[in-house]
């Protein structure tokens, strides 16, 4: 399934010609032309392969001494379009153009190919002219498009990221892959008496926290707004009313300062957090994101182009389950740390609570999905039953047994994903990562299976603006054009949309 990008050689010509003819019908290049293109020193041709199968190719031309490069061609097999392969090819070509010293990249595209034009616009290409009836025999015009590398390829952009998707107001600042500031204000305490996040309370708290959090972040990074290159903001997924506070603020800040804005996916942000911890993200990786709002298992082959949602909770999020069970046991909010506290030294095997979606039939249909609502009910029943019989229960044992059930399912499914996709890496993110047992079991299981475990520091695991800034910086370094100012807050934004 994984897409591999590598440079093409003459040996690849037969495969390439097949795809060339399928893709360009009337204006396919003759084999001889393609052959000399592949051989020429001033060109760079790359292939996208899936299990040795050619699914796309692209080529660049850059004459020595010139600071202009041309994209010669790009093709993606019809059944593999819309999966980010075109973007991966473009990423590789633009990087090569930059390495070869180009300042501008030009290309021609059929006037009637709006899909390709859209892809180029993502990379900052703008139409600068038209060649009438350039494509023959169809008589279709060519649009000439150009992008400016020098301006876009800021090697270490300073990006300010704003996060308001749930109950943390976060503003973070990064320079390239490096963390400069990460200020978080949580409204957690205000939700305590309600036993869970109340969206309206979270949104009100965001509005109050915006200004102090921004000022503090700038102070921490020792920067003024003039020194920021771009603004990034979470536009989903999350609580709609909460997201809108950050989106409104970020857009106004962008207009007031004249800086470009990038609308970023919150879940991809959690994956990007690891960049700030170790300076780069190692891919492919499986990512398990567990918080009060999410329980998602992702396959990340490429942070910007290839993130797939393998599964998620079909009812409660894992953190939510901790919070609800904590309430059942008469403990306070947030439940995670409380359960962790009373479970310490207690017996995790005292009660065998159900493991959601782990039966063989579930493992077929919901292999990577989670369900915690049945578990929560089982704990409540257990407590009620004991009470009605007048029996004492050991809160510690119940908590430890519950925690064991959650951790067991989370890690089992994450490890299966690593094995199924042959990915030797597991990255954890989200507030539940604070759980001591989760860390312990993850470590054990990863070691036993030869999987590298990554757990960024807690301030980067829980919701924060720095991870959003990190994605913004990655987008800029990959040459992506800023988002339009009209993007919206999307509470159910899919993980495949990294930038809106």
């Amino acid at each position: 399934m994984a897409i591999v990008i590598r440079e093409a050689s003459g040996l690849d010509l037969p495969q390439i010609m097949k795809l060339e003819i399928a893709s360009f019908a009337n204006d396919a290049w003759p084999e001889a032309t393609f052959h000399s293109e592949l051989d020429a020193p001033h060109t760079y041709y790359i292939l996208a392969l899936e299990d040795e199968d050619l699914v796309g190719y692209a080529g660049l031309s850059k004459l020595a001494g010139s600071d202009q490069a041309d994209i010669q061609t790009i093709a993606v097999r019809e059944d593999k379009r819309g999966l980010g392969i075109g973007r991966q090819l473009m990423d590789a070509l633009t990087l090569e153009a930059k390495t070869r010293g180009a300042k501008e990249i030009f290309l021609e595209v059929r006037a009637d190919n709006s899909v390709a034009q859209k892809l180029y616009k993502v990379f900052g290409f703008k139409q600068i002219g038209t060649r009438k009836k350039y494509y023959q025999p169809d008589g279709v015009d060519a649009f000439i498009m150009k992008t400016d590398i020098k301006r876009k390829y800021n090697s270490e952009p300073v990006v300010l990221g704003i996060e308001t998707s749930c109950d943390e107001t976060g503003v973070g600042i990064v320079r390239g892959n490096q963390l400069l500031a990460n200020i978080i204000s949580s409204s957690m305490d205000k939700h305590a008496i309600f036993g869970g996040v109340v969206p309206e309370i979270a949104a009100r708290a965001h509005l109050e926290a915006l200004t102090p959090v921004l000022n503090e972040a700038l102070e921490k990074a020792n920067l003024t707004l003039d020194e920021i290159d771009a603004i990034a903001v979470t536009n989903g997924p999350g609580l709609a009313g909460a997201l809108m506070v950050g989106v409104g603020a970020a857009k106004a800040l962008a207009v007031a300062t004249g800086k470009p804005i990038y609308a970023v996916n919150h879940l991809v942000g959690h994956v990007g957090a690891d960049i700030l911890d170790r300076g780069e993200l190692h891919t492919p990786t499986i990512a398990l994101l567990v918080s009060g709002g999410h329980t998602s298992l992702l396959l990340v082959r490429d942070l910007l182009n290839d993130v797939v949602l393998l599964g998620e909770t079909i009812d409660d999020a894992a953190g939510e389950a901790f919070d609800k069970v904590s309430r059942v046991l008469g403990l306070s909010y947030p439940g995670g740390p409380e359960i962790d506290r009373v479970a310490k030294d207690a017996n995790p095997a005292a009660i065998r609570f159900p493991r959601g979606l782990t039966l063989p039939k579930d493992m077929e249909k919901h292999r990577y999905d989670f369900s915690f609502s049945g578990l929560k009910t089982a704990v409540a029943r257990h407590v009620e039953l004991a009470e009605s019989k007048g029996e004492e229960i050991s809160i510690g044992d119940v908590a430890a047994s519950f925690r064991e059930a959650v951790v067991d399912v989370l890690i089992k499914k994450a490890i299966s994903a690593c094995k199924d996709f042959d990915v030797p890496r597991l990255l954890l993110g989200g507030g539940v990562v604070a759980n001591s047992r989760l860390r312990e079991v993850a470590k054990e299981q990863c070691e036993a299976n030869g999987i590298e475990l990554r757990i960024p520091p807690f301030s980067l695991c829980t919701d924060n603006g720095a991870m959003i800034a990190a994605i913004g910086a990655q987008l800029i370094m990959a040459g992506r054009a800023p988002s339009s100012l009209n993007f919206s807050a999307e509470s159910t934004l899919p993980v495949t949309i990294v930038q809106s």
Partner: protein
């Protein structure tokens, strides 16, 4: 924030923003509207706000950094929309190094009413608060460019307003919130001896909908 400093700055350029109903933004110079945009749809604030501000700046030929005051409507209005404009105002003010001033959104309706109907007649302003209720305030007229609010803002069922004021003696209006009018009021307040309205917390008038958890018992 000292009143004199604010009033000298407000005499330059101001950006006014309100999302308590639709999305309305304006650029003013010395209390005169240079450009204004009004979107009536009640649900698109977060989409519109960025390009709306960008457009009024462009239409007025003013650059963001020339804005000395950001005037924002602080409601009352449906919360989710209201907050978008207030969040935008806060960050625009930081980005442009401008002062922030808040004005009750209903006051802009009163100002527009009295501009169209000169005189000191009593006025009842209402806006939709959903859940079969209205946000409302009453006014006695305009003094030195500032509407004189006599009651409110408050939220009630329309029928219940009668228990606070004699509705039958009051004029009503179909006018809506307008950013330009908010900017004019802030300008007048900046020049008047009462000083500026530096109250920039939202007027919610309702508590969040949430019931404190009783603890325990979640099975079934």
């Amino acid at each position: 924030m000292k009143a004199p400093a604010a009033s000298t700055r407000i005499a330059e350029y101001a950006l006014a923003i309100d999302t308590s109903a639709g999305t309305t933004v304006a650029v003013l110079s010395m209390g005169t509207v240079l450009a204004e945009l009004n979107y009536l749809e009640p649900m698109t604030h977060s989409e519109r706000i960025g390009s709306a501000i960008q457009k009024v700046l462009k239409d007025s030929g003013i650059q963001a950094k020339q804005i000395a005051t950001v005037v924002v409507g602080v409601g009352p209005g449906p919360f989710t929309g209201l907050r978008v404009g207030m969040a935008a105002a806060r960050y625009f003010a930081i980005g442009a190094r401008a002062e922030l001033a808040g004005v009750c959104s209903l006051d802009s309706i009163a100002l527009d009413f009295y501009l169209a109907n000169p005189g000191q007649q009593p006025l009842l302003v209402t806006t939709d608060a959903r859940r079969k209720e209205v946000f409302w305030a009453t006014y006695s007229g305009v003094v030195d460019g500032i509407p004189v609010r006599t009651q409110g803002p408050a939220v009630n069922k329309y029928e219940d307003i009668q228990t606070f004021v004699d509705v039958s003696t009051m004029a009503t209006t179909e006018l809506g919130v307008r950013a330009g009018a908010l900017g004019q009021i802030a300008f007048a307040q900046g020049l008047s001896p009462q000083g500026t309205n530096s109250e920039i917390t939202p007027i919610y008038l309702r508590e969040p909908d949430a019931v404190p958890s009783k603890g325990k018992k979640v099975s079934g």
